[in-house]
Each structure stands twice: as structure tokens, then as C-alpha cells.
């Protein structure tokens, strides 16, 4: 059976879809057969980030309603061989999703795929709850600011109570924290919560820290998941995140403020004089 990962946050605009896209590409590039599902019915975005918006014919809701079969709706990704995308419907709303329908689709995918990444919509309503219901792993995407942290805390509460694993009393969902849009400079200035601040409140293992980066917006607009931009700091940070998810031990990068080259020279001089 495939392992089901939900990418969730509660708050909107923190980077769930960006993370889902990069996560899916990262897993597929490591040889795992991966499907990524857009649960944001009515606000379809994943296809844009993945750059496959022109190839959408059938969608998730069509499959649930039996209007198309899975193979017709799955779109083969152009970046990674082992990756398939199941887009959301743009014309329906989240009530079009049913628990039985989602169960059926995940079951069918589970037979042939290694990983299924569920891109959750914002909020705590039906769409978000269905996205997390069958999950084995949760990636909680959080920005280093108080409202995002509180919403993530709420999601963690739902993950531990409103999911299949919780209801059946099985081993709980494995929770991972992914801090996105992290700016070490603003942390030093005291404008942003630090990793420790967030950790103190949420108290779940930190999977990765994605720095605030120009590359993310550029990647979104061009339909190339940012993990493919391995020159960028955000792309490298996502690659590290995948490695950690698969069990590798890597130190967190991009969490210290970059010092200016002049400053570095001066500090070297200081050392010499000492």
C-alpha cells in the first residue's frame, strides 16, 4: 500500500501547494512512484505550479462521481517520470468531495503507487479534513509568525483526533514541521519568530526550513517546482527536506544570517590582530 502524506497548514498562503509540488517531484526523482492530489476543489492551483494546466481534461471530482476513470484523469508530469498529478475541479466546491469517494480513489492509487501526496486546502472545513483523514504522514507547513503557528497548532489537534488513524486508535500520524519563508535576518532583527520560538509552541520534529526566496515566486510563475532549481537556496532546502523525510540525517541550512563579504573580511582582520 502507498504511504499517504498530507501537506496542511490551516492558514492560507503559507506554501502548501509549493511544498506539495516540490515534495512530489523530490520523491519521484528518487525513484518512488508518486501521485499528487489537489484537494482544493474550486481553487485549483497545483496544476499551475506543476505547469500542467493546459493538459487538464478530467479531474478529482469527475473520478469520484464515476464520470471518468483514474487513468483518464491522472496527468503524467513532464519533469519526473514517476510522477502523476490528479487535479482539482475548478467549477465545483468542496462539498463535491465525499469520504467514500476519496477512500475509493486513494485505495485504487494505493495499489500501484509508493507515495500519495495530498495537497490540502486552507481552513479546517470539509476539504481540509478529507485531505488529512486517510494520512499516514503529515507535513505541517508553517510561516514564522504567530497566526500561522496558532493555525498549525489547531491542525495538529485535528490530526490527532479527526483522522482515520485516530478514530481507529491506531498508531498516530507521523507529524513533521516544515518552516517556510524563513528569513534569518528578520529573526535577528526580532521581526520574525525564530525556529526555537516555533518549536516551543508546536513541539513536533522539524523536517526542514525553507528560506524566503525570490526563486519560489519565479518557479510558481513558470510552472517548474522550485526543487528543480538546484541553484537556489529554496530548491536546495527542499531537496534536503526530502532526504530527511526518507531518513537521512542532514543539518539544517540557510538558518543563519548571511554575512556580507566586507564584514567577513573585517572579522578575519580582527582575528589576525588578536
Amino acid at each position: 500500500m502507498a504511504k499517504i502524506i498530507v501537506v496542511t497548514s490551516g492558514k492560507g498562503g503559507v506554501g502548501k501547494t509549493t511544498t506539495s509540488a516540490s515534495f512530489a517531484v523530490g520523491l519521484a526523482n528518487r525513484g518512488y512512484k508518486t501521485a499528487v492530489i489537489d484537494f482544493d476543489i474550486g481553487l485549483r492551483n497545483l496544476d499551475l505550479i506543476m505547469g500542467c494546466e493546459r493538459r487538464v481534461v478530467y479531474d478529482f471530482v469527475n473520478v469520484i462521481r464515476g464520470e471518468a476513470n483514474l487513468n483518464q484523469a491522472l496527468i503524467r508530469d513532464k519533469h519526473a517520470k514517476e510522477l502523476f498529478i490528479l487535479p482539482a475541479s475548478q467549477t465545483r466546491d468542496k462539498d463535491a468531495l465525499t469520504l467514500e469517494g476519496v477512500a475509493k480513489v486513494l485505495d485504487e492509487l494505493g495499489n500501484t503507487f509508493d507515495y500519495i501526496v495530498c495537497d490540502s486546502p486552507a481552513g479546517i472545513e470539509r476539504g481540509a479534513q478529507l485531505a488529512m483523514y486517510f494520512a499516514d504522514y503529515a507535513v505541517v507547513v508553517t510561516n514564522p509568525e504567530v497566526s500561522s503557528v496558532r493555525d498549525s497548532d489547531r491542525m495538529l489537534g485535528l490530526l490527532s483526533s479527526k483522522t482515520k488513524r485516530a478514530e481507529e486508535g491506531r498508531e498516530p500520524i507521523t507529524e513533521h514541521l516544515l518552516l517556510t519563508r524563513y528569513s534569518p535576518k528578520r529573526v535577528t532583527n526580532g521581526d520574525m519568530l525564530s525556529i526555537n520560538d516555533v518549536n516551543e509552541i508546536l513541539a513536533i520534529p522539524l523536517l526542514g526550513v525553507i528560506p524566503e526566496s525570490q526563486a519560489v515566486l519565479r518557479a510558481s510563475n513558470s510552472g517548474e517546482p522550485v526543487i528543480l532549481d538546484q541553484k537556489s537556496d529554496a530548491g536546495q532546502a527542499y531537496a534536503d527536506t526530502i532526504a530527511r523525510f526518507l531518513g537521512e540525517q542532514l543539518p539544517h541550512r540557510f538558518i543563519e544570517e548571511k554575512s556580507h563579504w566586507l564584514k567577513r573580511i573585517f572579522s578575519l582582520k580582527e582575528k589576525e590582530t588578536v
Binding site: R150, D151, D153, R154, L156, S161, I201
Partner: protein, 241 residues
């Protein structure tokens, strides 16, 4: 005969069910029927609709030493004031037998009085003492979650987030940062206390008295365990040395 009425005929014409309906208790502090009448009249006048037709149990605890009482008169007074007497309680054995002959059976709904002795000791044994179940939670209590320890204490061995709510009829103990709300003595127990190792709560409350974060004194974070309790209707926050 229609099909439905045929069906009805086969069913029993009544069912016996146990039920505890809320009921007003009229506790006699002394036996003075004239005063009873005037006081009752005045009370009913103030809120005429509130008591209209309410069932009433007459509590005889304070007058049980007095011997025979005039239940016919008592009934009439109550009925005249729109109250419907349905029984008596806590009377002497003789009084209760007497009341029963006037259509007022002995009812033990609700709390038995402390003065209960003698013939009622057997009934007293049947009312179980409240079991004080302690509820233990060892997973983090996240924003939006609510945990209630009914009839007992609540022990939490994990962090309590902002926006989470702890409730207990008894004490609350938190061995982790307390950032949400803690409400002890929900049902009015003023002896209930809150204990925690790190107090950053949004609100603490004991038996309805509360303090918001803004009103809490600033505490030294390195301090040991903190207890919160009620003293002269004021919430006190003190470290346990």
C-alpha cells in the same frame, strides 16, 4: 377499522419508564401555616408565571421533630398558590406515613439531607459516594481542543496550547507549559486549585472567579511549581516553595 388502528390495538396501552424530572423543593424552616400562606402568596405575586403549576416536594427536615402535621391544609395552601405538591421528603417515619395517606408519597429525588438518620440509613447506603475519577492526558492539548474531567481532577503531562481549554470539577495539574485556559471547580467547588510548572495561561478560573492574562502578576519563569487558588473570593497565584 383501518390498518393503523388494528396495529395500535396489539400494542400495550402504556409503558413504564423511569425519569428524574427537575423539581422544586419547598423546605419548611418552621411549621406555621398562616405564615406559609402569606409568604407563598407574596412570592408568587412577584413572578406569577414562573411557578405556575410547578410540581413541588415538601422537605420536612426542619420540622420532623414536631410530630403530626396538617397535610390537608398544607396541600390546599400550595394548590391555591398554583403549586402542585407531589410528595414529601426527610420527614419522620410517622409524618411520612401520614403524608402518604393524603396522597403525598415520600420522594428521595435529589440530595438527601445531612440530618438523615434512623429509618433511612438503608436508603442512604444506596446512594453511592461520588467516585473521584482522575483524568490523565499525556498528549499535547492543541488550540481548539477541550478536555473536561467530570467529577474529578485533570492531570496533563504535555503542553497546553493557546486556544485550548481545560475543565475539571476538581483540581487541574499541568506538567508542561500552560498557555491555554484552565477552569477548575467548574461546578462551583471553591476548594479546587490549579497547579502548573509554567504559567502562561490566557485565563485561569476557579468556581466561576477568573483572572485573564492581563491581570495576572508577572512571575519569575525560573520559579518552581505555581498554584492558583481561591481566597476570600479572589484568585491567588503563588509559587510553591
Amino acid at each position: 377499522m383501518t390498518a393503523s388502528s388494528l396495529l395500535m390495538d396489539k400494542q400495550a396501552c402504556f409503558l413504564l419508564k423511569t425519569n428524574f424530572a427537575p423539581c422544586t423543593i419547598l423546605q419548611l424552616t418552621r411549621y406555621d401555616l398562616t405564615q406559609l400562606e402569606s409568604q407563598l402568596h407574596a412570592t408568587i405575586q412577584r413572578t406569577p408565571h414562573f411557578f405556575m403549576g410547578s410540581p413541588v416536594i415538601i422537605d420536612l427536615e426542619k420540622v420532623r421533630q414536631l410530630g403530626p402535621l396538617n397535610f390537608t391544609k398544607m396541600k390546599d395552601i400550595l394548590l391555591a398558590n398554583q403549586l402542585v405538591p407531589i410528595g414529601v421528603r426527610n420527614g419522620s417515619e410517622e409524618q411520612q406515613c401520614d403524608a402518604a395517606t393524603y396522597g403525598l408519597p415520600t420522594l428521595t429525588i435529589g440530595r438527601l439531607s445531612h440530618g438523615e438518620t434512623g429509618s433511612h440509613s438503608s436508603q442512604k447506603k444506596e446512594t453511592h459516594p461520588r467516585t473521584h475519577q482522575t483524568k490523565l492526558v499525556s498528549t499535547p492539548i492543541r488550540s481548539g481542543m477541550q478536555v473536561y474531567a467530570k467529577d474529578g481532577d485533570l492531570v496533563v503531562t504535555a503542553p497546553v496550547s493557546v486556544g485550548a481549554e481545560l475543565l475539571a470539577d476538581g483540581h487541574i495539574h499541568v506538567y508542561g507549559p500552560l498557555r491555554g485556559r484552565a477552569i477548575a471547580g467548574v461546578q462551583g467547588n471553591t476548594d479546587a486549585r490549579i497547579f502548573c510548572s509554567l504559567l502562561e495561561a490566557e485565563l485561569v478560573s476557579i468556581a466561576g472567579y477568573y483572572l485573564t492574562k492581563e491581570e495576572m502578576p508577572l512571575l519569575d519563569k525560573t520559579q518552581s511549581v505555581i498554584q492558583i487558588f481561591l481566597e476570600k473570593e479572589k484568585i491567588k497565584i503563588e509559587p510553591i516553595l
